[in-house]
């Protein structure tokens, strides 16, 4: 008894002024200040690397969409591929060769996203998948960082032609420019037996950590600008406070506690929050809607888990920065978190049974 007779959709027939494209554009807008700043302090090689990453991602996305038989133009226009590439570029060393960006973008789009079924279907954060794959496969180019220019360290960033040589020339980074990130410097010093306070002080000055004029990937510097972008996203209702606060809060809490217990071994909360990809991860990467839980409580658990794992990896494991691994591990736990942290249904208890009637008829 098929009773389908009408082609019209059912209600509701009103809609909020909100779309996926708007979300992506706002996230990109929040990233713009940090991107511009980084382009200024790191110079042309960073710009080229960024351009190559984004271009490769868009091309890979177009090919995947075409293979899947989906409308290419409409799907590209929602901006999700560009955003993935943007975040991936933020996690790469700024002077990495061009093929790192290209391979990373292809891994992110093809393996991180389309193999699962496209937008909204992936289980793991595509940018983090690509970063981890690159880090493990190409450890040397992925761990060669440079100091930003200006502020008295170098006269000027590499010019256009020098930038082309660095990114596309395949000759590696000139020694004069290379430096270690704050995290890896501290890790090395701790490994050599220096107390944490000395290690931190020798690695980077506190104001540098906030302003972002220290060595690191594009997203590890300029914590203040990234935080400003994150606050904008909170204001624009693109993200909610649960994941950022849980992530940063758990990292601050753990490092603060550890620092209070053993200051020689563990750096303090300020160092933990301002170095590495903490701010970028808290506001932009861990808040990726597709791979994080949908409920508020679940997001708190997710953020706390990311913070905990990231701190553990930083403090006890072999990598100086563990946020990418932490996020991937928590992405795997997201379906379980979603199942366990369902909201309470109106009229039912937490366990799904109807509420008991207090009044007797």
């Amino acid at each position: 008894m098929t009773a389908e007779t009408i082609t019209e959709p059912s209600g509701p027939y009103a809609h909020a002024d909100w779309s996926v494209r708007q979300i992506m554009l706002r996230v990109m807008a929040a990233l713009v200040p940090a991107t511009v700043f980084n382009a200024w302090v790191f110079g042309w090689p960073a710009v080229f690397l960024f351009a190559v990453t984004v271009a490769a991602a868009l091309i890979a996305e177009a090919i995947c969409l075409w293979l899947a038989g989906r409308p290419v133009g409409a799907s590209l226009a929602d901006g999700s591929a560009a955003l993935t590439a943007w975040l991936l570029a933020f996690s790469l060393p700024p002077y990495a060769p061009w093929w790192i960006g290209m391979v990373g973008a292809v891994i992110a789009i093809v393996i991180g996203k389309h193999i699962f079924g496209g937008l909204g279907q992936n289980l793991f954060n595509p940018a983090m998948v690509a970063r981890v794959a690159l880090l493990i496969s190409f450890p040397v180019p992925m761990t060669l960082y440079v100091l930003p220019t200006g502020f008295g360290l170098l006269a000027a960033p590499p010019g256009f032609l020098d930038g082309l040589v660095i990114t596309f020339g395949g000759q590696g980074i000139p020694d004069a420019l290379s430096a270690a990130t704050a995290l890896s410097a501290v890790q090395t010093q701790l490994g050599l037996g220096q107390p944490a306070t000395v290690a931190v002080a020798s690695a980077v000055a506190p104001w540098r950590m906030a302003a972002g004029t220290m060595a690191g990937s594009l997203g590890e510097t300029s914590a203040l600008l990234l935080a400003a972008g994150g606050v904008y996203l909170l204001w624009a209702r693109v993200i909610t406070w649960h994941v950022p606060v849980a992530l940063a809060g758990s990292m601050a809490l753990l490092s603060g506690l550890a620092n209070a217990i053993d200051p020689a071994r563990f750096p303090g909360a300020d160092f933990t929050l301002l170095t590495g990809a903490t701010v970028l991860g808290a506001f932009f990467i861990a808040t990726d809607p597709v791979t994080s839980p949908v409920t508020r409580g679940g997001q708190l658990v997710f953020g706390a888990g990311c913070g905990l794992l990231s701190w553990v990896i930083r403090s006890f494991a072999g990598y100086p920065e563990g946020l990418a691994f932490a996020i991937l591990l928590m992405n795997a736990a997201t379906p379980l978190i979603d199942r366990g942290m369902r909201p309470r249904v109106h009229g039912r208890t937490r366990h799904g049974r109807p509420l008991t009637l207090e009044r007797l008829r």
Binding site: S19, L119, Q121, T291, L357
Partner: protein, 500 residues
């Protein structure tokens, strides 16, 4: 008064300014009225008139069938032209039994039942009977027979009567205008209903975006004493939903699959209260109601007092017609209203408004994939996870969708309103509920067929067995008869050696 917290909900663009300042105007009497027999929840009414009959205004046209039903009365005097099937505002466009009445323009009233002199001394049963006889149904949109609600509530213990003046749907202003212009009638009807229910507490909830209505209702309530409380509630959709209004105003959460009467509350719309007042004080049946005609494509949005059975095109004409071809034509509000497939459909008791929306107002976009942003979870007032239910339904896992709360969904539309991927979430839920009902129906039919086949086989076997036994019995009787005859002749030529 303390309000309790309601989670979720969306801040919709109210767009009430289009018609909120338009006073209620009567619709010019149409020449023909098409009165459907099913305008209410429950069984359709059965006609008691025939083609060619002359009827008077307010005369009974169709009687209720069963315990959950309501009668239908003539909106005007005239002649019955036809009793047949017409397309109504039901979204299926399946023709429904309808009485066509040609008005003679005289508006001659039938002898109405006498007004109940003192409703506050009358019994609850007599009030409920009067409400039932006058065909009053919930005018908030669900159109459930009010008398059934009054009966069921009076049997238990109802201590609170909540009157729903929220009108949370965008564009609709009919309740707003009724509250501004007929506040006295509403308050009287409210008091009558409270007496019929035995309710000691009366709360009238009005959204904050209706300050004039709050003012007039408060003044009208103050004249009768302190027992009626007028409460301003947040102007958020869906504050007017029955379950959430009860929680907001009384703090009582209705358990799943239960009714407000089970927690001692009865909820009725302000327009229903007014209809009860007219039924009890005047004896007038429900034959007209106030409707809003609004939308971006309507030239002059209006609030009209419309006789039941007028056509949608006549309402639009009274509002000056459309300025452009509407992108969407709706009966009701944009969130929970039904699409109209033709302008030549009649309005019924449950129609609160007709909307002709322009394309810019409906913001349709092609459906994209779900990005699991969680917006639907945060706006769902029932605490469900709409994206999970829709994903299960998409893969036809309907039983699993029920397990995560499909039947707890009130289909308010907040999730689909807020979804950035423009996924028609509510349509998935409507489809799933309907399909489950259909599958249950088919399963029952199969079980019935199985039982009938088995009983038929058993019956045939029984008949065959009876036949065999009858044949065997006849054979045995014939054989015995032969033996007896042989014995009887045995004394003759063929003697028996052992005889005599």
């Amino acid at each position: 008064m303390k309000l309790f917290r309601i989670r979720g909900g969306v801040d919709v663009a109210h767009r009430k300014e289009l018609s909120s300042e338009e006073p209620i105007m009567p619709l010019p009497l149409p020449s023909r009225l098409y009165v459907p027999l099913r305008q209410h929840g429950g069984a359709p009414a059965e006609p008691v008139v025939s083609v060619g009959d002359r009827v008077l205004k307010g005369q009974l046209l169709a009687a209720p069938q069963g315990s959950v039903s309501a009668p239908v009365h003539a909106p005007t005097s005239g002649e019955i032209l036809n009793i047949g099937r017409q397309i109504t505002a039901h979204p299926s466009a399946i023709p429904q039994p309808t009485i066509v009445l040609e008005s003679d323009g005289c508006e001659e009233w039938v002898d109405l039942p006498p007004p109940i002199r003192d409703p506050f001394a009358a019994s609850a049963a007599s009030l409920a009977t009067r409400v039932a006889d006058c065909g009053i149904v919930g005018l908030g949109g669900a159109a459930f027979p009010t008398a059934v609600k009054l009966d069921a509530a009076a049997r238990g213990t109802v201590d609170t009567l909540v009157i729903n003046g929220a009108e949370c749907e965008p564009y609709l202003t009919c309740d707003d205008r009724i509250m501004r212009e007929r506040a006295g009638e509403i308050i009287d009807g409210v008091r009558i209903m409270a007496h019929a229910l035995g309710a000691t507490r009366i709360v009238i909830a009005i959204e904050r975006n209706k300050p004039q209505a709050l003012d007039t209702m408060t003044r009208a309530a103050d004249t009768v004493g302190p027992e009626i409380l007028i409460v301003a509630i947040p102007a958020r959709y869906p504050m007017g939903s029955e379950r959430h209004l009860v929680l907001l105003v009384t703090g009582r959460e209705i358990p799943a699959r239960r009714l407000p009467a089970d927690v001692g509350v009865s909820v009725h719309n302000v327009a229903t209260a007014r209809a009860v007042h007219r039924a009890v004080r005047v004896g007038e049946p429900l034959i007209s109601r106030v409707m809003t005609v609004s939308g971006g494509a309507v030239r002059r949005p209006r609030n009209l007092e419309v006789p039941i059975g007028a056509l949608v095109c006549e309402l639009l004409d009274a509002a000056g017609g459309t300025t452009e071809a509407p992108a969407r034509l709706l009966a009701g509000g944009p969130m929970m209203g039904q699409p109209l497939h033709s302008l030549v459909v009649p309005v019924v008791k449950g129609t609160s408004g007709i909307l002709a929306l322009a394309a810019s107002e409906i913001r349709t976009a092609p459906e994209q994939g779900c990005i699991r942003c969680g917006t639907c979870v945060s706006v769902c007032p029932c605490g469900l996870v709409p994206m999970e239910m829709a994903a299960l339904i998409r893969h036809e896992k309907l039983e699993q969708a029920v397990a995560v709360g499909l039947h707890d969904c009130v289909a308010c539309g907040s999730c689909a309103y807020a979804c950035p991927s423009h996924i028609p979430l509510v349509q998935y839920f409507h489809y799933a509920k309907g399909r489950l009902k259909q599958l249950g129906h088919e399963q029952r039919r199969r079980d019935l067929a199985r039982r009938l086949a088995a009983s038929r086989a058993e019956r045939l076997e029984r008949i065959a067995r009876a036949k065999r036994e009858a044949v065997a019995a006849r054979k045995a009787a014939a054989a015995a008869k032969k033996v007896a005859e042989a014995q009887a002749h045995g004394d003759g030529p063929v003697g028996s050696a052992a005889g005599s």
